[in-house]
Amino acid sequence: MSRRTSQDAIPDTREERASYLNAGQGLGSWLLTHDHKRIALLYLISITFFFAVAGCAAALIRADLLTPEADLLSNEGYNRAFSLHGIIMVWFFLIPSIPNVFGNFLIPLMIGARDVAFPRLNLASWYIFMAGGLLTLAIVVMGGVDTGWTFYTPYSSTYSNAYVIGALAAVFISGFSSILTGLNFIVTVHKCRAPGMTWGRLPLFVWSHYATSVIFVLATPVLSITLLLVALERIFGVGIFDPALGGDPLLFQHLFWFYSHPAVYIMVLPAMGVVTELITAAAHKRVFGYWFIAGSSIAIAVIGFLVWGHHMFVAGQSPYASAVFSFLSIVVAVPSAIKVYNWTATLHKGEILLDGPFLFALAFIGLFVVGGLTGLMLAMLAIDVHVHDTYFVVAHFHYIMVGGTVSAFFGALHYWWPKITGRLHSDLWSRVSAILIFGGFNMTFFPQFLLGYEGMPRRYHVYDPSFQVLNVMSSVGASILGLGYLLPLTYLLWSLRYGKPAGPNPWGATGLEWSVASPPPKHNFETIPLVATGPYRYPLEADAPDEGEGEKEAERV
């Protein structure tokens, strides 16, 4: 039925001219735009670029780990490769990925606004982000940094002789972009909702971005200050973290994880919001437990601030503090579990379309569940003492951040692509790439759980030959995963030219973003909509579908 609606609604030329893509031509109209949709595209292009750079570093790492000896890279080179991979993936891809692309594009459309609250600030955030990103690239060209993305002291503050200051500055700068984006989203959600768009009617995507924004605003400054302190120690020898100067190296870890644990939720909450939308749209059914899902986003954001010590069970913090952090880490798993169970219940009695976006959502859920449950294992003190700082941890957080967030990112890209570009993409190929990514991912990272339990520490360039078989499996999986990531690039770009026009609502989904043309007009809504119902107004009673099903669905749209 989606195809039919699309044919009914091929945009006429007048509408076409009014779309945000056509309002203003030339590079200048993009680089100086205040339109949240165009800024979202600027982010999309730039983070895709950073994803590719960090992906190349990952490819180098996996190629090097094919053998237990140091052959492809030197020890120095390897340390630089994983540091670069981590820093760029975390700060220049994962953290901005969903919020800055899809949050930017969709939040105003979803709440019935013409733009975010501060459009100019929004553009400024992108420039700040790019400044940080380009500085990082400059550092790479100059020779890179070897501290890992965690910048542990006193290695980073005293011992490393790489370009630590430059890397610190790059991350410091990009932090402002996060803070400003978070601020912008919070004010937008508070102030720019269309009449009738009450808090209880917000799509859950918006709730999860609201929760994320709170973390952006509260956690990022702590990171910025911490990095500044490392720089002070490194440049002026002020004793803060280096015990030889009278400092305390554990202080750094406390401050760093006080930001970086919540940052994990910055990466995963928006993904959860995406998956909620994808699941209800595919199931054509109201989401199960709206308030539980919305509330769990807020709960995650709040409790997420209280668990940082689970990164330090063997670092030398008090064992009783460790016990408390272990307990709180179990508590923070509850809201995540609530979401997963609610997604499952949403599928019950749905009318599920097994399309590409849905498969990406399933991939997210499957991988996130594995990542989350192994996280629970890591929260257990006696288990963590063994597997901390091994490949078990590497596998765990890749399941969450790559398996989870990146799958959701691709799901979002496929689901909203018709809205963003006005074109339909190939459903067959999107399903193929979802399956490829899911399979390749598991093959890459599952062996790493075993490697970790067997005792292979992370950041090991030279390793015991008994680990080779699993490492080779992982590297083979990574090449499949790489293919899975490259594939969408081809058919999505292809669709720009050859894809059928999408029409306003190709999925037959609810939500204000689907009520406007695809691509949306420059100012989103000609008249601001009046919202009278909650989100996901799929019928509560559905009959067993019969021959007339097509008609009925068309009516609902």
């Binding site: 340390n79 070897d146 542990y152 006193p154 290695y155 011992y159 280096d242 015990p243 030889a244 554990l250 054509h284 059914k285 989401v287 199960f288 063997v314 016990a323 272990s326 179990i330 509850v334 579990a337 609530i338 169970y341 499952t344 219940a345 599928l347 019950h348 009695k349 749905g350 009318e351 599920i352 379309l353 399933l362 859920i365 569940v369 449950l373 294992m377 003190l381 006696a382 288990i383 003492v385 063994h386 901390h388 700082d389 339990y453 067997e454 005792g455 520490p457 950041r459 090991y460 360039h461 030279v462 390793y463 015991d464 030959p465 008994s466 080779q468 009673e541 067993a544 579908p545 019969d546």
Partner: protein, 315 residues
């Protein structure tokens, strides 16, 4: 190590077996908790595929009781494991009194071990089987982490701080020992061998490694050589506290605080004497932080500890 694939790491202690049991049982629980999700999702996706006939009446979009039960039941089950694992962890933090104490100094990129009898080794750690062993560890530079997979334990090793690790290795054999905390260029080559020997073999090994000088005696010699005795010695012209009986006593500090003189306090008194100044004395002791390494400090500490029973002479 053989180049073949090992699916389960070797075990050198009874504790390692307990960790394996914990993770296996907990793994079973989480599999149980997640199985419904995987099974139901697949089942629903097939059963309620769009266009397929199925009973879709009485759809629900909320149910508080269901929500509460699927939040609380898993939580309570997991709490049982929390208690189990936390107890194991806390036990693993309190070494028995009679433990054999070895000192460990980590530096980029090697491990140095000292036995109380004086034997010293690099990147190899010999321990007697069946006897509690306590490692007192510190780093000469950045943070490292001593990890013995066969014992299922690790502990970060920090500069200027003593951290501890204890275990009873009961299965003689040769196992891997690795640095688990990233520490710079050759981090992955900061590895060694952990050798568990039957007590008689260990005794023989100690004898063979040929030192007639224990750790404390070596410390005593240093105490003279570095000029410590010039101030701290009984006939010294300078007013400095006697170190006999210091270890384990309660020391009043300048400014009113008191501390217990443990290994960390002795370490800091030597390396950074101005951090805590003993009450009633002038802060004239020179800092030795830049003059001696952590190994020497551990020898001095061992010597001061050996004087613990001498009874504290009051100045």
């Amino acid at each position: 190590m053989s180049p073949s694939i090992e699916l389960w790491p070797p075990m050198a202690s009874e504790y390692a077996g307990r960790v394996d049991l914990l993770i296996a049982s907990f793994g079973a629980l989480v599999a149980l908790l997640s199985a419904p999700v995987f099974i139901l999702m697949a089942f629903f996706a097939v059963r309620y595929r769009r266009g397929r006939r199925a009973d879709r009446s009485h759809r629900e979009d909320r149910n508080v009781w269901v929500e509460v039960s699927w939040s609380l039941i898993p939580f309570v089950l997991v709490l049982g494991f929390f208690v189990w694992s936390t107890k194991m962890f806390l036990d693993q933090r309190s070494p028995p009194e009679n433990a054999l104490t070895l000192t460990v100094v980590a530096k980029q990129w090697m491990w140095k071990f000292q036995h109380p009898e004086g034997a010293r080794e690099i990147d190899e750690l010999h321990v007697p089987a069946g006897r509690p062993v306590r490692l007192t560890m510190t780093s000469q530079d950045v943070i490292h982490s001593l990890y013995v997979p066969a014992l299922r334990i690790k502990q970060d090793v920090l500069p200027d701080t003593y951290s501890q690790l204890w275990f009873i290795a009961d299965r003689p054999g040769v196992y891997a020992l690795r640095c688990a905390e990233y520490c710079g260029t050759d981090h992955s080559e900061m590895i060694g061998r952990f050798i568990v020997q039957r007590p008689e073999d260990y005794a023989r090994w100690l004898a063979r490694s040929g030192t007639d000088e224990g750790l404390a005696e070596r410390g005593g010699k240093l105490f003279v050589k570095l000029g410590c005795s010039g101030c701290h010695g009984p006939a010294s012209p300078v007013r400095a506290p006697s170190l006999a009986g210091l270890y384990g006593s309660v020391v009043p500090l300048e400014g009113g605080r008191v501390v217990r003189a443990d290994e960390q306090y002795l370490h800091d008194s030597i390396m950074l004497p101005n951090k805590d100044v003993a009450a009633g004395y002038k802060p004239i002791m020179p800092p030795f932080g830049n003059l001696i390494g952590e190994e020497e400090v551990s020898q001095l500490v061992a010597w001061i500890k050996s004087q613990a029973d001498a009874g504290r002479a009051q100045p």
